[in-house]
Every structure is written in structure tokens, then in C-alpha cells.
């Protein structure tokens, strides 16, 4: 089989999707990952590559509300989807309650796992604003952290859930 890479099609694929609430229309190389497209083409470097093989969750993004490893997602699969990255958490100048809670609970050390942790937590809280502890532990079980020992992260999620739960009750 001819493995000369120049023989592979150089044709780009046009995809359009909603990213953090804004429409995006770009051309991608069909074999590229969503992670690479976000970081390198769209210059949204909040999403991190930790392992590149779906074993650490640092690259977690939300696609139609579901947490997925963007390192394992082919970029063309983003077409027509609603995509959220960590950059979309802030509301204008204000941080998302999850981000506030991570800061106030000491849940950020080197910060590398943090975007993935935030997105996994958001996926849970968007769907279930009043989770039990075992539910947010499960929701974060696909995100590895080498710094904190997880306790502060879990406390931050609990804290954010309380804040969001209260906000829901008031609204």
C-alpha cells in the first residue's frame, strides 16, 4: 500500500457548529482531533492534552451537554453540535460558580487538570443541579489530578452545587 502521505487527500472538510454559544464555520483536516482543532486552529488553549489517549480527561469538552475526551473525537464529528469549552464558562467579566468554587476551595494547584475537571463538573450540574456526593465523584472519575489529591476538587464541586442549587430555587 502506498503510504506516501502526499497521496492522501489534502482536501479540507468544512464544518459548522456552535462553540460557547457562538456559531463557528471552519475548514479542518478530516483526520484531526477536536482537541487539535480547538487548540491550534481556534486558539482556545484552555483545553489541555494530558495523555492524548482518553485516559486522563484533561481534554474534556462538552458536546451536546455530554462530557467527552476531545483527544478521541475526530474534528468532523463536531459538525452540527453544541460545543462548550472552559473558555465558555465565564459570564462576561464574572466567573462561573464552578470557577469561583475551585478558587475559593484551593482546588487549583498546577491547573493542568482544571479545565477538564470544570467541564466534567459542569456536565453533571447542568443535568442535575442537586447531585449526591457519589454522583459528582462518579462524574469526575474520568479526570486525573496529580497535585491536589482530589479532596479540594470534590469540595469545590459540592460548593458550586450548593450555589447553583440556591440560584435555581431563587429563580
Amino acid at each position: 500500500m502506498n503510504r506516501n502521505l502526499k497521496d492522501r487527500t489534502q482536501r479540507l472538510l468544512r464544518i459548522s457548529f456552535v462553540l460557547n454559544g457562538m456559531p463557528v464555520n471552519i475548514e479542518v483536516r478530516p483526520w484531526e482531533t477536536a482537541l487539535a482543532v480547538l487548540r491550534e486552529q481556534l486558539v482556545l488553549t484552555g483545553t489541555k492534552e494530558g495523555c492524548g489517549i482518553g485516559e486522563c480527561g484533561a481534554c474534556t469538552i462538552l458536546v451536546d451537554g455530554f462530557a467527552v475526551d476531545s483527544c478521541l473525537m475526530l474534528a468532523p464529528k463536531l459538525d452540527g453540535r453544541k460545543v462548550e469549552t472552559v473558555e465558555g464558562l465565564r459570564q462576561g467579566e464574572a466567573l462561573h460558580p464552578l470557577q469561583e468554587a475551585f478558587l475559593s476551595n484551593g482546588a487549583v494547584q498546577c491547573g493542568y487538570c482544571t479545565p477538564g475537571m470544570l467541564m466534567s463538573a459542569k456536565a453533571l450540574l447542568d443535568r442535575n443541579p442537586n447531585p449526591e456526593r457519589d454522583e459528582w465523584v462518579e462524574a469526575l472519575s474520568g479526570n486525573l489530578c496529580r497535585c491536589t489529591g482530589y479532596v479540594q476538587i470534590l469540595e469545590a464541586v459540592e460548593d458550586a452545587a450548593k450555589t447553583l442549587g440556591k440560584a435555581k430555587k431563587l429563580s
Binding site: 500500500m1 503510504r3 502521505l5 492522501r8 487527500t9 482536501r11 472538510l13 483536516r29 478530516p30 483526520w31 482531533t33 492524548g52 489517549i53 482518553g54 485516559e55 486522563c56 480527561g57 474534556t60 455530554f66 462530557a67 467527552v68 475526551d69 483527544c71 478521541l72 473525537m73 475526530l74 468532523p76 464529528k77 459538525d79 466534567s120 456536565a123 462518579e138 462524574a139 472519575s141 474520568g142 479526570n143 486525573l144
Partner: protein, 291 residues
């Protein structure tokens, strides 16, 4: 260097199958991508085309017809875990699905992908085998339905022919009197491929005698199957700890008979026996369906 290929998104199963008529030797099928993308990262996907079947409605249905549960090949592990029909008709599969990888992996990975990848450690396979699962396989010019044991024929090998796609799985309905148990040994509780996994489904009659037992253990034999000689050892008898231990030993003997003595046997022999004892004890003695 990452593999490069073209991306094809068929709008229907027919379109996908028609594409394969002329291109199957140059095509990889993509569902969730949790296996394929790792191979692609390593430069191991030689295909010119990748055909994405993840959105094909014909492969995404979960339905029950006359008690037979049908699960589309492109149904994700998350959907399996959340399905009320699967909770009722094949809860052991929902339990096994919950053991796979992580939330992120489960949101993408599919049942069809797990079977087509044919890892010996596939968590969905023992549960499907104990449910007598049949696989519907289609090509542009054919349709066949095979027992799962005839589809996975060895480590990472299936009997799929060029141009064929797995479209759905059909499960034998088992009544409420059946109990089930799924066990797994892995390095961690998440993000770990199973070292050994085990699915057991059984039924006791009114005298406490085993009148049906189905046992399938993953990662111990070249091809996945039911452990029929071990099952037969318990059928027609009232289970007790020493009988269960004998069944466990029959399983490890079968493992050695079929796989030979390997470097891992020193570990796997006691490990698989322990796993089988745990599964059958919970199933019949403690009467837990996975506490």
C-alpha cells in the same frame, strides 16, 4: 505520525453499505472512536477512508419486540446505562457498561465498537454471551444473524467479511426469576481495562436447585464463550461453597486447556477462581444481584 484519512459521513445505513461495496478494503468503520482514535494516533490506521456510523438512526435504537431486546450497534455505554428497557431486560449489560473507562469514554463508546474491536477484555461481551446474544450483520447485498461466539473468533479478530457492518444485537429474554452478577478485576475502579471479567446469570427452582446457569469469563480464553462444562457442574444441584469452588476450578482448568500455560497463568488461575467464587456466591448464596 498520526494516521491520515478521509472522513465519510453517510446519511443512511444504505449509503454506508453501498460505499463499502467498492471501498471496504480501504475503509475503517468509526462509531465512538475510543479504540480507532488511539490506533490513529499511533499511525496504525492504514485505511484511506473512515466511515462514521455513529449517527445512523438504524443503528441507534433500543427496542423490545415480543420480549426480545434489540440494541443498535451505535448505542453508547451511557445510553445503555440509562435505558429503562435494558434495566428491565438485560441489567447485567448496564452494569458492565458502567465499568467501562470513564464518563467521557462511555458517552462516546458503543456496543458495536466493543464487539468489532474484539478485545479479549471487552466488558460487554461476557454479559452478551450469557444472554445468548445474536449479532445482526449487514452488507449491501446480505443480512445475517450470528451468535456472538461466532462473530468474535480470537483476540482482536472477528468473522466479519468485507463490506459488512454490525448493525444490532438481539438478546434472549430472561424472566424476572433470573439473577445476575458481573465481576471485574482491574488496576483501578475507573479508566482501567479489565484484567479478567465475569458474567453469571442463573436461576434456582423452588427447591433451591440450579435449573439454569450461564457463565462467561473474559480475558482467559482466545475466543470468548460460555463455560459450559463448569455450568453443567452446578446445574441440577443445590449450590454450596464447596460446589462453587469446584465450579471455579473447572473454569480455571478450561482456561488452561484452551489457552495453555502462559506467563500470566500463575496469576490468572487463582484470580479467575476467586472471581468465579465471588460471582456465584453473590448470585446464589448471598442472593445479591451485584451489591
Amino acid at each position: 505520525m498520526r494516521s491520515q484519512f478521509e472522513y465519510i459521513l453517510p446519511r443512511s445505513l444504505k449509503e454506508a453499505l453501498d460505499f463499502l461495496v467498492d471501498h471496504s478494503s480501504q475503509t475503517s468503520i468509526l462509531a465512538g472512536g475510543t479504540d480507532l482514535m488511539i490506533a490513529a494516533r499511533n499511525g496504525d490506521v492504514a485505511s484511506r477512508y473512515v466511515v462514521d456510523v455513529s449517527r445512523l438512526e438504524e443503528m441507534r435504537a433500543i427496542a423490545v419486540t415480543e420480549g426480545a431486546l434489540s440494541i443498535g450497534a451505535a448505542v453508547t455505554y451511557t445510553e445503555i446505562m440509562n435505558s429503562p428497557q435494558i434495566a428491565q431486560w438485560a441489567p447485567i449489560l448496564a452494569r458492565a457498561a458502567g465499568c467501562v473507562g470513564s464518563v467521557q469514554i462511555r458517552n462516546a463508546g458503543t456496543l458495536g465498537g466493543n464487539v468489532a474491536n474484539a478485545s479479549p477484555a471487552a466488558d460487554s461481551v461476557p454479559p452478551m454471551l450469557v444472554h445468548g446474544a445474536k449479532v445482526q450483520i449487514r452488507s449491501a447485498s446480505s443480512e445475517r444473524c450470528e451468535p456472538l461466539e461466532r462473530v468474535i473468533v480470537g483476540p482482536y479478530r472477528t468473522s466479519l467479511r468485507p463490506g459488512e457492518i454490525i448493525t444490532r444485537f438481539i438478546f434472549e429474554p430472561l424472566g424476572d426469576e433470573y439473577r445476575w452478577n458481573f465481576q471485574r478485576i482491574a488496576r483501578r475502579r475507573a479508566l482501567s481495562v479489565a484484567r479478567i471479567n465475569a458474567a453469571a446469570i442463573g436461576r434456582l427452582d423452588s427447591r433451591g436447585v440450579v435449573d439454569d446457569l450461564r457463565l462467561s469469563i473474559g480475558s482467559i480464553t482466545p475466543e470468548p464463550s460460555r463455560m459450559t462444562s463448569a455450568e453443567d457442574h452446578l446445574k441440577g444441584k443445590v449450590p454450596d461453597p464447596s460446589l462453587i469452588q469446584e465450579v471455579a476450578e473447572k473454569v480455571s482448568q478450561e482456561m488452561v486447556r484452551r489457552s495453555g500455560v502462559r506467563d500470566s497463568t500463575e496469576y490468572k488461575r487463582p484470580a479467575v477462581e476467586g472471581l468465579v467464587v465471588k460471582a456465584l456466591t453473590e448470585l446464589f448464596i448471598k442472593q445479591n444481584c451485584n451489591a
